[in-house]
Symmetry: C2
Subunit: 114 residues, 2 copies
């Protein structure tokens, strides 16, 4: 993170704010990881993301769909089934998710080691 | 994001949850970017982060300090001055911030271009 004009750092802040607007909060990236690990059904996803409630999960799934990160498919079966899958666009997040994972491990070691 | 055991993805989720616990919300990373761009004083930081209130900024600065990402120095002057600076540990976030910036730009193009 380089030193530049002390006050105006909007060119660095605005794209990060855009990204955080999409992935902010505790759940969206965790849900996306769960889906990319093969969890397609609502109950599977809910079970794999610790402490998420059904109400929060359905809202976050809707947001992820609006941001073109997941797709929702209605399977014409008895009973009707709904399956979620990650979109190609969500792949653009994989480097960011990797960085989050790496940093999460480093930070835990730093905080616990303090 | 690789395909593995469909239900259990906790090894992928937990470090990301740890990282998100620290940087979650809209403000922490933006404040850190502002500080690393040379904004040391409370008012400078507040001015450079769009729409943040003084109340939210002081809470977020306290959180960042607890997570060893910034330091707070009291300058014995008339009047007393308080200056914030990024810690060496915060440098470990720079790759993540870069990824957020890159993804923010890509995602905006995708959503606006849809």
């Amino acid at each position: 993170m380089k030193k530049s004009n002390p006050t105006d750092c909007s060119s660095a802040i605005i794209p990060v704010r855009d990204a955080l607007d999409v992935i902010s909060g505790k759940w969206k990236i965790l849900i996306l990881i769960s889906i990319t690990h093969g969890n397609k059904r609502f109950t599977e996803i809910q079970k794999s993301v610790p402490k998420i409630t059904a109400k929060v999960l359905s809202k976050e799934l809707k947001d992820l769909e609006e941001h073109l990160l997941i797709e929702r498919k209605i399977i014409d079966d008895y009973p009707v089934r709904i399956e979620y899958s990650a979109t190609p666009h969500s792949q653009t997040l994989s480097k960011l998710v990797k960085e989050l994972q790496d940093w999460g491990v480093k930070h835990r070691a730093k905080i616990i080691g303090k």
